[in-house]
């Protein structure tokens, strides 16, 4: 970090933003006490997934796209399967869909526990990391690690392993887990549910900056349930569409400052996906326990303070643990574990809720089931421009603060949205310049 400050014109550089997944940077210019320019820069090396997917067979796509992100591989596998099944007109057994949702609950618990406790909470205590936080509150960090462990256990039980699960295939699973193996997770999940409720109470006591965003929220909005693995797409501004319709609507532009494409609706409007959006559009459908947690975490029906996203994640942890328990109690092994899949030439789109936001896949296949064209729109590309809007707000709010605090708040403002730059192309560097 290098600081220089001359009255209302000065610069801050943070060459590497920590506690995010991937590599990027950020630059804010302040002139005459006002924010003149904000740029989130992502320089994670591009890996060209859409390019080398061309010519691969449909069966390989879930495993290959999982490697876009080690933190949310299930999201990639699920969106890929949904898109491919859409292209081939494959109907999936509802027991398969329930098992997918269970696996996805494991990823939500693992990823949210990681973000809440290891990546985000240290900011609220002025700590560099969870190890330092453990010196202040070891019980809290251990509670977070235990939650994360249970999320991983669930992913291993359904998916075979937690990073890049191996049991997911187009049409379903390679092998259905045995009922007793899943029931063995009920006890750890009940403890995790208790830990999630404690998380909601814990974050309620955090000191949140008084910042509100004017967000255009976009999320899945399925009928009768909180969104994870399926459903139509809706927005707080009245949009209602399918994944295929959404793929038409989202226009991505390539700008020099980022190896992640910038997404806009209709090529014009910025928007936000992720916990705040899911919650705003679906909070009424949360089960009773999760609603109690929301009340405990001092949340209304909609939350527009980005710093409080940690509280929404806590509520989603309660939801995911509760949902996993419900799914295991009702679990019937799907037989067969996967639908038969016959490739046909065509196009398909699929969207699911990665822990950090909406993940859209669209593929064009030839008659032999080889990919002709792939398009993947990860949450962080969609959120980049809104993160920049947040930074403008935060810098304006803290413009008279000391440089260290302003820098810390900028970093925190980026972490609020749990950006996965590995997904978006991948790392963040914060550089606030006031000149």
């Amino acid at each position: 970090m290098t600081h220089s400050r001359q009255s209302s014109e000065f610069a801050i550089d943070v060459p590497a933003l920590a506690r995010v997944e991937g590599e990027g940077g950020l630059r804010v210019e302040v002139r005459d006490g006002a924010v003149a320019n904000v740029a989130l820069r992502i320089f994670e090396p591009p890996r060209f997934f859409e390019g080398f997917l061309q010519g691969r067979r449909f069966e390989e796509v879930p495993d290959i796209t999982a490697r876009i992100c080690g933190i949310c591989p299930v999201a990639y596998q699920m969106s890929a399967c949904a898109a491919i099944e859409d292209a081939f007109g494959v109907a999936v057994d509802e027991r398969v869909q329930a098992l997918r949702r269970l696996l996805y609950c494991g990823e939500w618990v693992q990823s949210h526990a990681l973000h809440v406790y290891l990546l985000h909470a240290p900011d609220f205590f002025g700590c560099a990391d969870a190890v330092e936080l453990a010196q202040l509150d070891r019980a809290a960090v251990q509670r977070g690690l235990e939650l994360k462990r249970v999320g991983n256990l669930l992913m291993e039980a359904v998916g075979g392993r937690s990073v890049h699960p191996v049991n997911v295939r187009v049409g379903g699973f390679y092998k259905a887990p045995r009922r007793e193996d899943l029931r063995a997770l009920l006890e750890p999940l009940r403890r995790a549910l208790g830990a999630s409720l404690a998380t909601a109470e814990w974050v309620a006591g955090f000191d949140y900056p008084d910042v509100e965003g004017d967000y255009h929220f976009v999320a899945l909005r399925p009928h009768g349930t909180y969104p994870i693995d399926s459903g139509p797409i809706a927005s707080s501004h009245g949009l209602e569409t399918t994944p295929a319709g959404f793929a038409e609507l989202v226009v991505e532009e390539h700008v020099e400052r980022s190896t992640a494409l910038h997404a806009r609706l209709g090529g014009r409007d910025t928007y936000l996906t992720g916990p705040l959006a899911r919650y705003a559009l679906n909070s009424a459908k949360l089960p009773e326990l999760a609603r109690q947690a929301a009340t405990a975490a001092r949340l209304g029906a909609v939350c527009t303070n980005p710093f409080q996203s940690i509280a929404v994640r806590a509520v989603e942890l309660v939801f995911a643990c509760n949902e996993a328990i419900r799914l295991i109690e009702q679990y019937e092994p799907p037989q067969p574990p996967a639908s038969l899949v016959h490739p046909v030439a065509g196009t398909g789109a699929g969207a699911t809720e990665a822990p950090r936001g909406l993940l859209l896949h669209r593929y064009v296949f030839d008659a032999g089931g080889l990919v002709r064209k792939a398009r993947i729109v990860p949450p962080t590309s969609q959120n980049q421009l809104t993160i920049e809007d947040d930074l403008r707000q935060v810098v304006t709010h803290y413009v008279d603060a000391g440089l260290d605090e302003l820098t810390a708040r900028c970093e925190q403002a980026v972490r609020n949205h749990d950006p996965c730059i590995s997904c978006a192309a991948h790392f963040l560097e914060v550089e606030v310049e006031r000149s």
């Binding site: 590497a16 920590a18 506690r19 995010v20 997944e21 590599e23 994670e44 090396p45 591009p46 890996r47 060209f48 997934f49 859409e50 390019g51 080398f52 061309q54 067979r57 495993d63 290959i64 490697r67 876009i68 992100c69 080690g70 933190i71 591989p73 990681l114 290891l118 240290p122 560099a128 990391d129 969870a130 190890v131 330092e132 453990a134 070891r138 960090v141 251990q142 690690l145 994360k148 462990r149 991983n152 075979g160 392993r161 937690s162 990073v163 890049h164 191996v166 049991n167 295939r169 390679y174 092998k175 532009e253 390539h254 700008v255 020099e256 190896t259 494409l261 590995s422 991948h426 790392f427």
Partner: protein, 255 residues
């Protein structure tokens, strides 16, 4: 004084670093046994090098990273690579079999903004590597074994045999013999615990080639169980596409 540990990321998915954070029961103990001096994904605090141990994730895909790895090597006592990207270039080494210009054109509107080398290469192609941990992702047990062994000053115990042996150990029926599935297990390094065959699916080689893997003989057997030329090529050309043994075999099946 506690030894210092640094974790570095190059082109990758972050999954191997995450495996370290996934050691929930051991994480605080590890953090007490070593000084985590640089680990950007976990901490905003950094300590200047040199570092006793560096864990390196990811492959080299940009000119800037080709320079950065030299500095990491210079600052590190023991350098351990973690995962298939660092060991063999990873999934992104699929670019090595085509041109970056054609790939970039299908993803980015302005390829001229990008800094991307023509190839994705292993860390060992650039600097001396003391120990390579394989897998896409690495196995948590193996990662803890490496850290424990380094702290104790001994060589870690890591298998160099193939996945077949792990199938036998866990009593999994051979998916190739019994079901005629095209399995890479006979030529793939053990370490995952033969996960895929235990789920009724053939191994797809994410731990890379085992020692003295006979890929040509395996490819002939794959053809006998009905794998097409293209399938054999794609099997060898996925997560460890640029590992020399796998690359040679996939090239032999280029149509």
């Amino acid at each position: 004084m506690r030894p210092t540990l640094a974790v570095w990321k190059f082109a990758s998915c972050d999954g191997c670093q995450l495996t370290l954070l996934d050691c929930e029961d051991e994480l605080l103990a590890v953090a007490e046994s070593v000084e985590i001096a640089s680990f950007t994904e976990m901490s905003s605090a950094t300590v200047d090098g040199p570092y006793d141990v560096s864990l390196v994730e990811g492959s080299i895909t940009t000119a800037a990273d080709a320079q950065r790895i030299l500095a990491v090597r210079e600052a590190s006592g023991v350098l351990v690579t973690i995962g298939a990207c660092a060991a063999a270039g990873g999934i992104q080494s699929l670019r090595n079999f085509t041109s970056v210009a054609s790939l970039a054109g299908s993803v980015y509107a302005h390829p001229e903004y990008l800094d991307a080398l023509e190839t994705s290469t292993a860390i060992s192609d650039h600097v001396e590597v003391d120990l390579a941990l394989h897998g896409c992702p690495v196995d948590k047990g193996q990662l803890l074994e490496v850290i424990t062994a380094l702290l104790a000053g001994r060589r870690p115990v890591l298998p160099s045999y193939s996945v077949c042996q792990e199938c036998k150990q866990r009593g999994t029926v051979c998916v190739m013999v019994a079901h005629g599935q095209a399995c890479l297990g006979p030529a793939t390094r053990a370490g995952c615990g033969a996960l895929c065959p235990s789920l009724d699916r053939p191994c797809f080689g994410c731990f890379g080639p085992s020692e003295s893997a006979n890929t040509a003989s395996l490819a002939a057997r794959l053809a006998e169980v009905g794998a097409s030329n293209g399938e054999i090529r794609r099997l060898f050309r996925t997560f460890n596409a640029a590992a020399p043994e796998f690359e040679k075999e996939s090239v032999a099946h280029d149509a």
